[in-house]
């Protein structure tokens, strides 16, 4: 067994082991162990990224039992991209939470509410284990189990934000469980006619199937269930309260990577598990339509917020729309002989990866300001930027990524999406991208501009107090996200090469 194969297993199991161990430790040791594990996970991600870069797909047959009996882990291009992004977001957020423990929530001591929450550590490490398991899994039922691990820990991470976060967390729990059940129902339907759960074998079995009704129904159930978990527009109402009520160290994880886990499963089902079946186009166009609605409605709703964290959360709702706008273009390659519009696929992944980094940065910054000033009302944050020039600079860089200006992955993604749209002669996509970009410029300006205004900050306000060294370190976390948003923009071509590994088309 090579070290890369060892890494595939370790990426999922090491954080789980650490999550178990942290439960026995006092709070300061939990923080230290968390940082150590974050660095180790990033270390295990490196060989997977390396082997995928050299064009090699690493496969691990767990227990030595081949599919359909056992489970395969596959480190392909899609997995590598999201492993890399999650490691980046994970390491920075873990460091942020370790340096500023008050960003991990609030718990009830014997008598009163205290900021900082020791429960953050086992839950976050468990969540990370589930995320890595989702990316690597090559088995439909295992995808369900991993997704449950992510969903459950994500709900609990919202709930550690204190009493005001409990209701959003409960709502999130209902949606997450309902979405999982629909996914499981679809997987059950597929397994009944294929007799296997392995992604590749499912595909080859379904290829032989003559009647497309059952795969189509299964795909519909899976898509609706996962769209709930991604928070595609009409099913987005849970996201805003959950992501804005979550603790400062949790919101970047939720908006940055947790919803991407459901997106990855959706891509695995659409592109790997199921062959192109007649009728799939309707579903893709429906998703495209909902995506357009999400871009426009989400942006307008973001414009109407007067608090920073809900504004950033609505921006997530809008950005989710772009990924689904790409869905009709995915199937469009069929006309010119190619089984799949790989340009749209690359664009979708670049947009999602770019969003993960930029949004993690913006949510960390919003949480930082909320923790420092005690509120995230934009009228109260006027002039807060005067004490935090680095933070404002970093927020600006993240905003560049969300807007999709060069150079950033957001730009690469929008460019590839637009190119694919022109190739397929779907001109409306250009209109949506343009409108979405203008609207996002408006709401980002609305969010960031008040921080830059000259304002008399009352001397006794918490924002006027001296900035502690730890807080300066916290600002560095946002700066890393900002620099990464711009820096990853240079990697667009490499991303395209990565995504070809393990793509069957």
């Amino acid at each position: 067994m090579t070290f890369t194969q060892f890494s595939l297993g370790a990426l999922a199991l090491l954080p789980l082991l650490a999550a178990a161990l942290t439960m026995l430790l006092p709070h300061p040791v939990r923080r230290a162990l968390g940082v150590l594990v974050a660095l180790l996970v990033a270390g295990f991600t490196a060989p997977v990224l390396g082997s995928v870069t050299s064009g090699e797909l690493t496969e691990l047959v767990l227990g030595g039992f081949d599919a359909p009996l056992g489970i395969h882990l596959r480190g392909d291009g899609l997995a590598a991209v999201f492993l890399g992004v999650t490691s980046l977001v994970g390491v920075v957020v873990t460091g942020y939470a370790a340096v500023l423990p008050k960003s991990t929530g609030a718990h009830l001591s014997a008598t009163s509410w205290v900021t900082s929450h020791p429960g953050f550590w086992p839950l976050w490490l468990g969540c990370w284990s589930g995320l890595n398991a989702v990316y690597l899994s090559g088995d439909l039922f295992n995808l369900y189990v991993s997704l449950e691990l992510v969903g459950l820990t994500a709900v609990a991470l919202v709930a550690v934000g204190g009493q005001s976060a409990w209701e959003p967390a409960l709502r999130y729990l209902f949606i997450a469980v309902l979405g999982s059940l629909m996914f499981l129902a679809g997987v059950g339907l597929l397994a009944a006619v294929t007799g296997t759960l392995d992604l590749h074998q499912t595909r080859s079995q379904l290829d032989e199937l003559e009647d497309p009704t059952l795969p189509l129904l299964a795909l519909t159930l899976i898509t609706v269930g996962l769209a709930m978990k991604v928070a595609l527009l009409p099913m987005h109402r849970w996201l805003v309260p959950a992501h804005s009520a979550a603790p400062s160290a949790v919101s970047p994880i939720l908006s940055g990577v947790v919803i991407k886990a459901a997106l990855v499963v959706l891509l695995r089902c659409w592109l790997w598990a199921l062959p192109a079946v007649p009728g799939m186009q309707w579903l893709a166009w429906l998703l495209g339509g909902l995506g357009v609605a999400a871009v426009l409605v989400g942006s307008v709703l973001a414009l109407r917020q007067d608090r920073l964290k809900p504004l950033v959360a609505y921006s997530t709702v809008a950005q989710i729309g772009y990924w689904f706008v790409a869905f009709p273009l995915l199937l469009h390659g069929e006309h010119d002989g190619a089984p799949l519009g790989s340009g749209a696929y690359n664009g979708l992944v670049a947009l999602a990866a770019g969003h993960a980094i930029a949004k993690a940065g913006l949510f960390t910054a919003a949480g930082f300001l909320k923790d420092r000033c005690g509120t995230d009302k934009m009228s109260a944050l006027r002039g807060a930027g005067a004490h935090h020039p680095v933070l404002i600079l970093a927020m600006g860089m993240c905003a560049v990524g969300l807007l999709g200006l060069p150079i950033s992955l957001g730009f690469t993604g929008k460019w590839q999406l637009a190119t694919a749209a022109v190739g397929a002669e779907q001109w409306w996509v250009l209109l949506v991208v343009a409108a979405g970009t203008l609207l996002s410029a408006a709401y980002l300006l609305r969010g960031i501009a008040p921080l830059l205004l000259q304002a008399e900050v009352p001397e006794n306000a918490p924002a006027a107090g001296p900035v502690r060294g730890r807080e300066r370190l916290g600002e560095i976390a946002v700066l890393i996200f900002g620099v990464a948003t711009i820096g990853t923009g240079l990697l667009g071509a490499w991303l395209g090469d990565l995504l070809e590994v393990g793509a069957w088309w």
Binding site: P26, P68, L217
Partner: protein, 323 residues
Amino acid sequence: MSTVLDLGLGVAVLIVTGLSLLARSRLVMSMSFLVLGVLVAIVWLRLSSLDVALAEAAIGTGLLSALLVWLAVRSPLPPGAGRMETSHRLRWLRPAVGLVAGTVLTVVTAAVWVRADHRLPAWGEPAQAQLPDTGVEHPITGVLLAFRAYDTLLESGILMLTAAAVLALSRRGGLSAGSTHQLSIHQASAALPPVPATLSWAARMLTPALVLLGLWLLFAGSTDSGGAFQSGAVLAAALILLHCAQVDLRVFQARWLRPLLVGGVVVFVLAGLVGPLLGLPWLSWEPEWAFAAVLVVEVLLTAGITAGLYALFLALENPEGVR
């Protein structure tokens, strides 16, 4: 004869489901849910899925009902008295939409399901062929702890983290006071209601029997139906009975609950690591020591599941403790 029985069972399931959804009193709802669980366990038995029936009876019915009944007794307010506001003008709209959507979904799925060309699971034959290498004789235990051990490991991780989540919401975030690093689940400050002598007596009498049953389910799992999940549920039920009879378990809770809770997952991952150290894939058991590995993992998983389910009960039993 058996058709009549099955039809009767089906109708009974429908009636009890309706009762558990439509009743206005929480106690009636919880009780109907309990009966529903028993009926569903019988349905699984009729489908000759003994393992599922056992799991349903132990976890779905036993533990969940214990919690629901306890909550119903504590706060008997009818459901709907809380937040959920319904608009007065279109009161019929929500149930109507739900009914139509549910009917359409069921009819379409059932139609497609019945028409589809079903295929037997392709893993049946290889499972039989490779079962001797796993050290166990019961195919379900083989699937759970060898062929798809990874799924089981992640599932036990889910249970552990559920307990972690519930503990995190109780006082002190699941940590204990001072430097003792022991579990402190906040206990009710008000005095507990007096326990009838019969309950206390019955709990003490029943516990040895339950422990014996739990251990039998655990060890039977290698050759017959049963296993860690069912056994853990029965053992947790024994703990809950003792707790309800106000037997003092505080030392056990403080010292042992959390180590037991994480022990199963920790040992499972470490056992999975033995494979890579010998140059094999993750989670491989060599035939020579497969039985030992599976047994150790299963025993510790049972302890972890027991502790997890008991911790869920403890924390949920006293919702005021976290407010």
